[in-house]
């Protein structure tokens, strides 16, 4: 058999890979626990399968190697050898060799590795360790005979009979073992030989049928071995436990007396191993039971005293049965998991089609709308709607289940690194342990295939640079054994894969020095960067080797590779590090690669998609804000120079916007770079299916692919990375002079609103979470409520804020927050928001710490020192009025882009103005509530500006608070001109806290809901609810009254359900006001929900319009 690229190559490679994994894995285990026979068996099995499959595809050298390994392992299994480090390391070396051979084959070349040296190494180890005795003698040839041949009675020759008799008399037991090899097994004779070989280790083989030597290489499906042994049946079973042996039957042979003659008696057949698991457990295989008497002519030979061990046999029988059961259970685990291997391409195709189905389905919604307009029969339309929804549900289910088929648990990738960590621990002489968490987390197959390499680099770096030497750790009072942790988990619609160590952390200064030295950045640039950006520089290509930075810092090797691969997979990698405590690299991947969320933008009437993962924020600029540096357009975004691309120029069409119109800018980031993409219109967020252009054409610069929209039209997906690279290539590093000019000179637009103007202390304030929220002091509520400051905290609030006149003394720093608009995905927004906070917090610290005369510092200083207070005030006024306009616009397009809101608006036939009006009233109402609460309780109750929004009822449990938490809810049905319910809900513990406060007892005392507690909460709700309701009825001129409050103590979903069911309300949407209540230092978070039924909400709106 020569080397061939046969049709089984792929299967072989795949299997071999798995087997190697298993071998590595098990050997590591064995190293820890040398006596675990299960592990040894596993190793043995894997090695054996490898041997067979290698031989099958003609890799004889590999097969030989595996065979030698097998011999070695057999010694261990049979306890003739002990596991020692030498054996383990020689085995590891074997695995490496095999791996390299497989690698060569996989790359399509003929493997030329010389395996003889490793083979002789094994031999040496083998010879050295062997304890004599049990060395596997040259295996006797087993036989080749078909089933029917064997079904004939085993005929024993006279000599054999004598042997048996002798053996039995000397206390050995004798039995006949019938081994059935799987019909489709390859090289059956090998199996037979192996079994015999195994049996020989502890028993004397009397005979084999068919005869081994005669059978030669002929295939044997069934063969019998008659043997004498002192070992229990279990041992025989183990010996026969060879890959691809289907069943093992055993018959006891004993001497018995019959008609005064000693005969050899064959007892019932027992199946002691049956991998098919088909036999009823534990039953004897007695259908062709025969009590074979010996041939009469030989009876004379057995003249000695007879021996009847019927009883023994019975005892054995019981043993056998129970063993048999165990065996079958095991087998179920191993064999019943039936899987089908499907190529990823096929899955992709399927997913593609289903994606189309989902998209095509959305066409029905349009049709439905049309039908409604045309006043068709209502019943028909409703039926149509039902069917349509059913279909779309099925399509979505289908889509998600196909997507799931692409998902593979990450465990198999993680476990590979046990070996790497072990090897590196030895190499670097560090004590290490690898901790694996979340191995069951599933990732897209494509990510799984690619993630190995970045993980390897990260682990290497952690071990090489992050983890200290043992002595150093000891000095620092750390555990001697360093821990590398691999963790995978899902969060939102992303999967996170982390590599963390408890080493020394990244050295900021070291990276800075290296960056300067390597010309990656100048001191002045560094001063402008926050720590995160600086850490991220280690991903820069060429930013490498530790030695060239300092000896304690500078991960760099392969980090660029990590970044590249992760980015290629639409992922993101970030660094968290704490000096002396360790470093954590977090890779975030989209849940699936096939469907991505994107921001849709338009240039004239051409639609383009920008993957949401690339979008940092969206802002609006006017033409005056744009400065030109060396022919490139830039703006000053919060003190940072942001290069601009005009998308219309990139796609070569005229912009539809006039000169005096504000231009939406999508700020996109790739790596450490950011650019602003000027577009004509923002169209909102959409889930899109990526189709490659390469499939039928080729890669087009600046495009990542195309996607087909609901109406069948194509939109192009922008490739942000390549666009940014193009910008970088086109424009050289902006000179310092120019940077300064922009930062100082332009006092308009964003520069005005930006954080460059405010003094440092306000910026610092932002970084403190306690300061983030503007607090309304209830007694002075009416004046103070108008602050839009809370927008800074929650992106949603910006929609609630714009109605109010911002107070002049408002902190400037917050002005730019509402600029961050219209990234409609909530969770994402929040992440972005946080990030921006960090940036500010850190910017401040950089500015204040750094001694370098940085541009930003100069600017900041200038802003602070050169400008008089009056000027500042004047500018702030201007900025604020401008800000108000901005905010309005932002609200508009935030609303436009936010699908749920859009949906609600449409359903309610509401306009933005209507919503704003409702919000105004809600705000006033909540203020009233706070005031009256303060009065009644005679306590200073502070409330934050409520975050008011509309949410579809089914989304409330997910949006408000935590699905898994128990809430205390107090609800009051509304009666009057409109109907609905008011629900005030608090997280359980927050509710208890509130009760404590209300009763003026020490916080933490209440831990169950007593009657007193209930009444207190009801009272509070009454106050709050009535205030709000009064405001509503005042403002819209309708009679409206809350009724008696009721307490519910349950999960949010259950609470809502009970309200909806009890009052038979058909609410589609709820008006949600999220409010923080403050008592001194404590904060209690409660949510006030108004659930007007849909009709009532419309009534409110129409009243408001009057």
């Amino acid at each position: 058999m020569g080397f061939s690229l046969g049709e089984y190559q792929d299967i072989f490679l795949e299997e071999a890979d798995e087997q190697l994994q298993e071998l590595n894995q098990n050997l590591l285990q064995l190293e820890k626990d040398p006596n675990d026979s299960d592990i040894i068996n596993n190793i043995f099995r894997a090695a054996h399968s490898l041997k067979s499959s290698a031989a099958f595809v003609g890799l004889n050298s590999l097969s030989d190697l595996a065979h030698k390994m097998e011999n070695l392992l057999q010694g261990i299994r049979d306890k003739t050898m002990d596991v020692n480090p030498e054996i383990v390391s020689v085995l590891f070396r074997c695995f490496d060799e095999i791996s390299s051979v497989i690698g060569t084959v996989a790359s399509g070349e003929e493997p030329t590795q010389d395996l003889s040296s490793i083979i002789s190494q094994i031999q040496q180890v083998h010879d050295k360790t062997i304890q004599g005795g049990g060395s596997p003698a040259a295996p006797k040839q087993t036989q080749a005979v078909r089933t029917q041949d064997v079904a004939v009675k085993t005929k024993l020759t006279v000599d054999e009979m004598k042997k048996i008799k002798k053996g039995l008399e000397s206390g050995l037991s004798c039995c006949e073992v019938t081994v059935f090899v799987e019909q489709d097994a390859m090289m059956k004779f090998l199996k037979a030989r192996l079994v015999v070989n195994n049996l020989e280790q502890f028993s004397t083989i009397v005979t084999t049928v068919p005869d081994l030597d005669e059978a030669g290489d002929r295939d044997v499906e069934v063969f019998r071995v008659v043997l004498l042994t002192e070992q229990p049946v279990d041992e025989i079973r183990k010996a026969c436990d060879v890959d691809q042996v289907a069943r093992v039957d055993l018959r006891k042979i004993s001497l018995t007396r019959k008609d005064e003659k000693i005969v050899i008696r064959f007892h019932d057949t027992e199946t002691i191993a049956d991998v098919e698991g088909m036999q009823p457990q534990g039953t004897a295989q007695d259908n062709n039971e025969y009590e074979q008497e010996d041939e009469p002519e030989r009876n004379g030979l057995f003249a000695d005293e007879p021996q009847d061990n019927e009883e023994d046999h019975d005892i054995e029988h019981i043993d056998i049965s129970s063993l048999s059961v165990d065996r079958k259970k095991d087998d179920k685990k191993a064999y019943i998991i039936k899987t089908v291997k499907v190529s990823v391409e096929k899955l992709d195709l399927l997913l593609n089609n289903v994606g189309e189905l989902v998209i095509a389905n959305s066409g029905f919604y349009k049709l439905y709308e049309e039908m409604r307009k045309l006043n068709y029969d209502k019943a028909v339309i409703n039926e149509f709607k039902n069917r349509m929804e059913q279909m779309s549900r099925i399509a979505k289910d289908l889509q998600s289940s196909i997507m799931k088929t692409r998902m593979v648990p990450i465990g198999q990738v993680f476990s590979r690194f046990n070996r790497l960590v072990r090897d590196l621990a030895i190499e670097f002489d560090k004590k290490l342990q690898l901790k694996i968490i979340g191995e069951e987390t599933e990732l897209d197959k494509k990510v799984i295939d690619a993630i190995g390499e970045p993980l390897m680099h990260l682990i290497r770096n952690s071990i090489d640079h992050g983890v200290e030497k043992t002595e150093e750790r000891r000095k620092m009072n750390k555990t001697e054994i360093a821990t590398i942790t691999l963790n995978a988990y899902q969060g939102g619609n992303q999967i996170f894969v982390e590599v963390s160590d408890d080493g020394r952390g990244l050295n900021l200064q070291g990276i800075k020095n290296a960056a300067v030295k390597r010309g990656v950045a100048t001191r002045e640039m560094l001063a402008n960067m926050d720590n995160e950006d600086i850490y991220n520089m280690i991903f820069t290509p060429g930013f490498s080797t530790a030695e060239e930075i300092t000896d304690i810092s500078g991960r760099g090797v392969g980090m660029n590779v990590v970044k590249e691969i992760v980015t290629e997979l639409n992922g993101n990698v970030s660094i968290e590090t704490e000096p002396g405590m360790g470093t954590r690299f977090v890779m975030a991947f989209p849940l699936t690669l096939a469907i991505i969320p994107a921001i849709m933008v338009k240039v004239r009437n051409e639609m383009f998609a920008i993957p949401l993962s690339d979008v940092i924020e969206t802002i609006k600029v006017s033409n005056e804000d744009v400065t030109t540096i060396e022919g490139h357009e830039v703006i000053n975004l919060r003190g940072e120079i942001l290069s601009l691309i005009r998308l219309n120029e990139f796609v070569k069409v005229e912009s539809a916007l006039g000169d005096d119109q504000k231009i939406p800018v999508v700020v996109v980031g790739f790596g450490n770079r950011k650019i602003g993409m000027m577009v004509d219109y923002l169209e909102g967020k959409q889930e899109i299916v990526i189709k490659s252009l390469e499939q039928n054409y080729r890669t087009v610069e600046g495009l990542a692919g195309a996607s087909i929209l609901g109406d069948g039209s194509i939109c192009l997906i922008l490739d942000i990375a390549s666009m940014i690279n193009k910008v970088i290539a086109e424009q050289d590093v902006v000179s310092r002079r120019d940077r300064k000019r922009v930062l100082e000179g332009k006092k308009i637009g964003l520069a005005d609103e930006g954080v460059t103007v405010p003094s440092l202390d306000t910026t610092a304030k932002i970084s403190s979470p306690q300061e983030e929220r503007e607090v309304i002091h209830a007694p002075a509520v009416n004046e103070e409520i108008s602050r839009p400051g809370k927008s800074a905290v929650s992106p949603r609030t910006e929609t609630s804020a714009p109605k109010f006149e911002p107070k002049i003394e408002k902190k400037e720093a917050e002005k730019e927050k509402p600029e961050i608009a219209a990234v409609p995905d909530d969770s994402r927004e929040e992440i972005k928001e946080e990030k921006i906070y960090d940036i500010h917090a850190e910017e401040t610290s950089v500015i204040s710490e750094d001694i370098e005369p940085a541009a930003a510092l100069e600017t900041a200083a200038r802003a602070g020192s050169e400008v008089s207070d009056e000027d500042v005030e004047k500018r702030v006024k201007e900025a604020l009025s401008q800000f108000k306009d901005e905010l309005r616009e932002n609200v508009k397009y935030a609303m436009g882009g936010d699908q749920p809101d859009e949906h609600i608006k449409k359903a309610m036939q509401m306009t933005d103005d209507d919503l704003d009006k409702v919000r105004v009233i809600a705000n006033i109402g909540i203020t009233e509530a706070a005031e009256s609460l303060s009065k009644i309780l005679n306590k200073q109750i502070d409330l934050s500006i409520p975050d008011v929004r509309f949410i579809a009822v089914e989304n409330i449990p997910g949006t408000i608070g935590d699905v898994d938490n128990v809430y205390i809810g107090v609800y009051m049905p509304l009666v009057g001109d409109i109907t609905g319910t008011i629900l005030f809900s608090l997280m359980e513990e927050k509710g208890f806290e509130l009760i404590d406060h209300l009763y003026g007892i020490e916080s933490g005392r209440t831990n169950e809901l007593t009657e007193d507690g209930e009444s207190a909460l009801k009272e509070v709700t009454n106050i709050i609810g009535s205030s709000v309701v009064n405001v509503f009825s005042d403002k819209i001129g309708m009679a409206l009254k809350p009724t008696v409050p009721t307490i519910v103590h349950d999960y949010m979903q259950a609470t809502l359900d009970s309200i909806l069911v009890m009052y038979n309300v058909e609410n589609d949407y709820a008006l949600v006001m999220e409010t923080d209540f403050f008592y001194g230092d404590d904060r209690v978070i409660g949510n006030l929900l108004i659930l007007p039924d849909a009709e009532s909400l419309k009534t409110i709106v129409s009243k408001l319009r009057d």
């Binding site: 593609n352 089609n353 994606g355 189309e356 051409e606 990139f650 796609v651 070569k652 189709k691 490659s692 252009l693 499939q695 039928n696 054409y697 080729r698 087009v700 610069e701 600046g702 495009l703 692919g705 195309a706 087909i708 069948g712 039209s713 194509i714 939109c715 192009l716």
Partner: protein, 179 residues
């Protein structure tokens, strides 16, 4: 509609909906006369010159769909279209041949062809008919065709009294210089 299927099934094929076939002048008589390998061509006219594409390469023929412009590509790439979920590029054959641009009319068609493993749409003024001819009637490209560069021509077929320029599809999608 799978054109090939249709044509394979019947020698009289060509009445395919989208094939604008003056197919009545289809001549069985000639088909009988000719021997050697018979090939079938989908032919179309551009400025009075008839061009043919081997029918085995033709995937389908479409009426003018909505075309999405593809920026940063050569001008002869008109854009991409959605062919049942496949995004395929459309080559404006006139532009590719350096002929003056023509208006899109009711007769304008996109011939979707398979080139290698890719699907490409060819934007043509019309689809004329399906022609059967013996390979022996095909001559190698000569200098006599004006305008069209040789890289697009596989040969010239003689059919009745007409000359049909047979396409070499391989070079339609990419220019040598942009590889």
């Amino acid at each position: 509609m799978d054109l090939r299927e249709l044509l394979k099934n019947s020698s009289q094929a060509g009445e395919a909906e989208s094939v604008k076939a003056d197919a009545d002048e289809r001549d069985d008589a000639e088909a009988v006369e000719i021997d050697g390998t018979i090939i079938q061509l989908v032919s179309f006219m551009l400025d009075d010159v008839e061009y043919g594409i081997d029918i085995l390469a033709v995937h389908e023929i479409l009426r003018m769909p909505e075309i999405t412009r593809l920026p940063n590509t050569p001008s002869y790439i008109r854009g991409v279209i959605n062919l049942r979920g496949n995004v395929i590029p459309v080559v404006d054959v006139r532009d590719r041949f350096g002929l003056p641009v023509a208006e899109v009319t009711d007769l304008t068609r996109i011939i979707v062809v398979e080139v290698g493993d890719k699907l490409v749409g060819l934007l043509v003024d019309n689809v004329y008919q399906v022609v059967r001819m013996s390979e022996r009637n095909i001559d190698p490209p000569a200098d006599l065709i004006e305008g069209v560069s040789e890289e697009f021509i596989k040969g010239i077929g003689r059919y009745q009294k007409r000359l049909i320029i047979i396409f070499n599809l391989g070079n339609m999608l990419f220019s040598e210089e942009d590889e």
